[in-house]
Subunit: 506 residues, 2 copies
């Protein structure tokens, strides 16, 4: 006790000594707590008090200065607010790191808790590499953009600017341009009031996460599932539980519903991202039945439903949900026209469209007019459907080229995948001890970028899986890139075989 | 006590009677709690248990059925999850409203707490009325869109599509197209790495709110201030405190900083929305000095800084912040080109740009490419500057027309406003007991829409104020609309004078 007391006295004396030359500079007319603040501030700024200097305990300083403890507390709080000192419970108050001009404003300390959790940059890496001309990316999901109907688009821009005048330039309803909402309702069913136009599916998922999820809510997601959706739900504070969409075991889903009481079920039922799997009609009906019974909304991501080059896939969940009450459908033009356009839509019951629009007004008051009017024209004029036919034919050729190259250049069993009749993705499982990250790194060394399975799992997994987008490059380039992937698999396998005995010894 | 017991017994008997005919239908092989659930579910669905029927207390039912209380608790929770019953603490568990097909899925109960708070639809009303051809809107802030350089825009679209090929269609970096970031850095200073391209200022404010604000944080905002910013911060859970930007009293600001320890200061220093006020250079320097001292970031909304038709306004805060560390600048092309384009940018220290980009990837992975490339070309080719000159000249004519009409058709003192040399807005104070809402309603009856002051105040006020956007309509139409506003003021004044004695008697 005596030692502690002596230490504290010394600490006060230390402070007084350090600030001796500063004291004269601080006018005595100021309120007491301000004088303390200024004294210490001067000391810090002029280097008399170095970073890490421990200030005297509040009680001690108060008694030495014959002021109330509250005065010292105020002064310390003030110094802390100015970033000059930092208090640690049970340890004391210390002078912070130097504050001279070279030290950046301490941004890190100002970031919100939500933002600090937002550290997965997979999506950003994907779009960055996709835009890098030096890399052949089979990573980001893009359709055959070289088939984009540029001339039809240009003509539609001209038409819109000529016929709709300033409609393209002004503010527009948050829900979307009436013309496009009508076009979408005609094409996909429902009425225009149940459609919200958005700047791409990702914005839709973000709006849904913000409108439906409270921190701590459970959400059931595809396992594996679209990583952008996982990010949106996670960032809204959801606890994610995976449901294996390929097995589509309804008892398992019911168990999850009973156990976690989720706020919503997110699924991508057609040519699923990342697996390429399509949920059969019976499973779709059962899913809706379960959702109704447990009163859990389904968020259905139908981004790939128009990209079948085989038999037509089953109807979307929201088409099977006859009352239109339990399914919220998210759609995008990114995979049927171009991701650069930033255009998508949500189909849902009116109360949900209304709530989402209320949220959207504050996030992005409306979606760009020109692209809405142009796409509406492309659909109504038949150019969109003609483009889809060409796109699907080309996608089939690219899929065949990639599949052939992978089969040819990997040993049997090294890379297992099933071949989907649509969508954009091949989902590949690596054999044995081969790590997907290892394959990814080797391929990137040869300027080919693919994604590993991990980010698609909400609850672990995917270390032996790879997603390959087969649609981005012309057949010859795609085949060549697939060959690089195959070679990377083979060399990663050799490495794994060599490494194995060592790991067993260790 | 005895009465209570009797009541409870009766309640169990009531349930058993109601479910007598259902019991046979539920197989005895199911787990006990499931049997209870199914029995009650059947009862509800078939109408034997009507909405409002009070289920027996859990303990009572458990003892009557000779099962553990936990079993009944599980069953009730299950029924509640299915939306069939609803428990109220201290009151019991009741059968919910009917669940037949006509009743919409209970969406309201599924909305997140954040979304339920998002009920201010002012912004949405603004954009809706602005797009309605039957209404002359002086409400939404829009520049003279009839001057939009449509031909230059069309030519730039052609150029971009010809020279940049698929760059417009593919994925692009979240931070923005390199070409546009370089153009912006050349025009506004800084380097491209400190610029984040966004889909309009509102998206920027939302990203900033999400990256910087934790629920309960204090934020200082202009009083009155831009309503979209207030909404974004409020929706992130901020407590808002207003600072009178027109008075620009720095002692008051310092008091606010000391008292509330805010997470950030939001201000719109040039031709402020809604007041039209511009913060003088000295106040700007002091503001930065205070922000530095208290280590509080400034979010500066510089949407109107290029819209002066008088002497040039002082430099932006981020230009005065020489280290570039304390000011985050939000900008938009909505008021200098067109809001329909959805294009803006943020200038900030790299760590902030990085954090914001991480958040943006999950909200809207990148801004539309075509508009980025086209606007970059319009700036680099000089078309943008030529447009600005024309725009400002026209804005001055429109301002003069509106000011003249208001002066001419309102009695002296009925509507006080100062006349800004730029921006888009006149901020008008009504005399005496005249309510802004009353004037707004009268004007809307004559198809002219203006906004009242309330939504611009974070902490009450604005009931006697009106914001008039003077730039949207050609001088003659604007003058005519201003005349309608003036007439509405006059008739609201008469009403107020007539109403006064009555309200005094009551």
């Amino acid at each position: 006790m005596a030692t502690t007391f002596r230490k504290q006295r010394q600490s006060v004396i230390g402070l007084f000594r350090a600030l001796n030359t500063e004291a004269a500079a601080v006018p005595r007319t100021r309120p007491l707590y301000r004088r303390i603040v200024e004294l210490i501030e001067r000391g810090v700024v002029r280097g008399a008090l170095m970073p890490g200097f421990r200030l005297p305990p509040e009680r001690e300083l108060a008694s030495a200065l014959r002021v109330s403890r509250a005065t010292v507390v105020s002064a310390y709080r003030e110094l802390e607010a100015r970033g000059l000192v930092r208090g640690y419970v049970g340890r004391g108050t210390f002078v912070s790191a130097s504050t001279d001009g070279n030290v950046p404003f301490a941004w890190r300390g100002k970031i919100s808790a939500t933002a600090i959790q937002t550290t997965d940059s997979t999506l950003r890496e994907l779009v960055r590499h996709a835009a890098d001309p030096k890399i052949v990316s089979l990573a980001a999901g893009e359709p055959a953009l070289d088939l984009f109907p540029t001339e039809a688009f240009r003509a539609a821009v001209d038409d819109v600017l000529t016929s709709h005048g300033t409609m393209a330039w002004g503010h527009a309803p948050t829900e979307g341009q009436g013309l496009l909402r009508e076009t979408l309702a005609r094409r996909f069913g429902g009425d225009p009031g149940t459609i919200l136009v958005i700047a791409g599916a990702q914005q839709g998922l973000d709006l849904l996460a913000r409108c439906l999820i409270d921190r701590g809510d459970a959400v059931i997601v595809d396992r594996p599932g679209y990583l952008g959706a996982l990010q949106s739900f996670r960032s809204a504070g959801a606890r994610l539980f995976g449901w294996d969409v390929a097995r589509a075991d309804m008892d398992e889903l019911e168990d999850l519903l009973l156990r976690y009481r989720p706020k919503l079920i997110y699924t991508n039922p057609t040519f699923q991202n990342p697996t390429g799997v399509t949920l059969p009609i019976r499973a779709r009906r059962e899913l809706i039945e379960l959702a109704r019974r447990y009163r859990v909304p389904i968020v259905e991501d139908e981004t790939y439903c128009e990209l079948s080059f085989g038999p037509p896939p089953p109807p979307a969940l929201n088409e099977l949900d006859e009352d239109g009450t339990v399914v919220i459908r998210v759609n995008s033009f990114s995979k049927v026209l171009a991701p650069g356009l930033r255009l998508g839509w949500i189909g849902a019951a009116r109360p949900i469209v209304d709530q989402l629009a209320m949220m959207k007004q504050q996030v992005d008051p409306h979606t760009q007019n020109l692209v809405q009017l142009v796409v509406s024209r492309l659909i109504d004029g038949g150019m969109f459907d003609r483009h889809l036919v060409a796109l699907k034919g080309e996608h089939r050729r690219r899929r065949d080229a990639v599949v052939k190259a992978l089969h040819k250049h990997t040993p049997t069993g090294a890379l297992r995948f099933s071949v989907p009749d649509g969508g954009l993705f091949l989902w590949c499982r690596l054999a044995g001890e081969v790590r997907a990250r290892d394959v990814q790194e080797r391929a990137l060394n040869d300027s080919v970028f693919i994604v590993t399975g991990e980010p698609f799992y909400a609850d672990g997994g995917g270390t032996r899986e790879l997603r390959i987008c087969f649609t981005t490059k012309p057949p010859d380039v795609a085949a060549q890139a697939a060959r690089v992937v195959a070679a990377s698999v083979v060399s990663a396998m050799r490495q794994a075989i060599r490494a194995e005995p060592i790991s067993r010894i260790v």
